[in-house]
Subunit: 391 residues, 2 copies
Amino acid sequence: MLNFSYYSPTEFVFGKDTEKQVGKLLKFYDAKKVMIHYGSGSIIRSGLLDRVINAIAAENIEHLEFGGVVPNPRDTLVYEGIEICKKENVDFILAVGGGSAIDSAKAIAAGAKYDGDFWDFYDRKAEILSALKIGVILTIPAAGSEGSTASVITKTEGLLKRGGYSRYIRPTFAIMNPELTYTLPRYQTAAGVVDMMSHILERYLTRTPDVILTDRLCEATLVSIIEAARIVMKEPTNYEARATISWSGTIAHNGSLGVGRVEDWTTHGLEHELSALYDVTHGAGLAVMFPAYMRYTIDADVQRYRRMAVKVFGIKDNPRKPMKVAKAGIDAMESFFKEIGMPTSFDEIGAKKEDIDQLLSKLRINRGEKFGQFKELTLEDARKIYELACK
Amino acid sequence: MLNFSYYSPTEFVFGKDTEKQVGKLLKFYDAKKVMIHYGSGSIIRSGLLDRVINAIAAENIEHLEFGGVVPNPRDTLVYEGIEICKKENVDFILAVGGGSAIDSAKAIAAGAKYDGDFWDFYDRKAEILSALKIGVILTIPAAGSEGSTASVITKTEGLLKRGGYSRYIRPTFAIMNPELTYTLPRYQTAAGVVDMMSHILERYLTRTPDVILTDRLCEATLVSIIEAARIVMKEPTNYEARATISWSGTIAHNGSLGVGRVEDWTTHGLEHELSALYDVTHGAGLAVMFPAYMRYTIDADVQRYRRMAVKVFGIKDNPRKPMKVAKAGIDAMESFFKEIGMPTSFDEIGAKKEDIDQLLSKLRINRGEKFGQFKELTLEDARKIYELACK
């Protein structure tokens, strides 16, 4: 087990009707002027936005609305949001939605307290050292952004997708009512499931020895997600299954499952360029990339894949044939992705083999440079993984 | 799954040599005058106190020392500490030790910001609404106080042991170096193991349906603790096993394993009077009380005990004989406690059957009143559980 720091200060308020508490939470955390940040019209149509506004008004807190977030949120909206915050003296951003709204809110919150170009944070030219406070009402469990230090933004010019990370952009509170996720389209539910599974798998695939406690916690969460996803695909309004998925999404990415180990994140890196180029849902892109990545890296630690197969995907163990067990586990994972309606190859998401050069050119990896923790890779390996994903 | 709030804002800094960071952490959290609060001379003899003082001095932060904490910490020392804090304008209390030092620090931190008698908080006459900041250097993994809202103090007059709870007494940071636990006596290590297991079991024994995710997380942690405890009993300086125990102790009590369910805590209540009266180590008292409590309540939910038996204690399942499996699980737990050198009956801790009336009189339960969540109990049931613990 490696030395680590674990810090997850977000207050999670979870359960039925919890969005009604938003006004009181904003008051408790001393919000004076709130920007409500959201994406499409679904939160308007469902009446959620009105309920939120009423709860805020009941506490006599000022607010303004700022919608328009798109999936794979853009820098252009962030610039606009920063301007508004500065002009209107916003001190609290309330993101209502999923990872896109939250990530966009995080970028605005950091940019509003910075004199330079906020993209510096995503381009690793500057460090986020302060931000406006952020609150969340989560409607799409997937990205885990409600409890994470991460924010991913796409630069419109050149379609570059980059992450910014800081303890200062962790939400102060996150309201999570699983009922708000009942109406999520099947595809988005499934993409969320793959996204949260992938957050665990990026941590699970490690070469750090002696992390059995977190291995078991990872497996417990993965098994629970898979079980609940199967229920939700049949019964979209099953509260318990929706609740399990919602809370798992948070646990998957609040850091607790990665303590004491080197994490990988290679597959996320490879997928980011995919969703930036084709504007595909992140979780769907991950469903395409993970089986390819795993098959390509299986020799790096076949015993770890064997363990995953047995503990997560219920493959019968056979200590004498670890490779066979390991492969069966990856096959089972891919079958599960298909079962819940996710794509698992390039053509299903409109990606083209001919574009691989373009994808490679956008990765921040130079020729000859090594990357990857679980298995050390080069740009040539990345090409082969993309090719495997073409099928 | 029930609605819940989950809030665990403590920054955990975990691993080898992490105590060297204490000065920088105090600086980061803006400490001006620190009270170092500790118990016996072991932290002096080991040189830890000197290292801590040097790290604080290196950051030019003022400090004063306040030792003398005893196991089952007393109100008398708390009163003394509050006086010193007020007189010396202490703004940060650094507890160096285990649960006793931390609990005492929490009581002082709350009392120093309160005009009345701090015992009001423990007597449920007042609510803790503010406190000095608290930091921790953990040397005994057991109570989980480094990441909890709880503090347990014993009133010298009448030997009443009572808990105070508040979000405001959660430590701001907790430094956890598993190497500092190498020299813990066998008995104290084992008592810590039982203590942290019991924090999980009090949550695991619930009647709330649909909490499978946290059930699995509880089981993953329990299995890891048992495995690591067996290693540590043979190899006290096995870093990985010590690290697993240390981090498990935090997870066991930071709230994450209890979300969405009604928790029980009956056994803790019964044990508190035992350790108050005989000054027995809390974990040892729990090792005596838990098998008795479980045997007495087995009929409340035999399937839950069956699940525990199979998932935690490795008992072979037999769906047709759930009671047999359940009982075997409790037997296995008791055997494990014995294996690591813990007492499992009254006489082993110097407790006497004749004192049961006295124990019952100190429980805050009136005749005819019901208590307990997992199984509803009366004072007469409590008597029978104490009697079962006599063997």
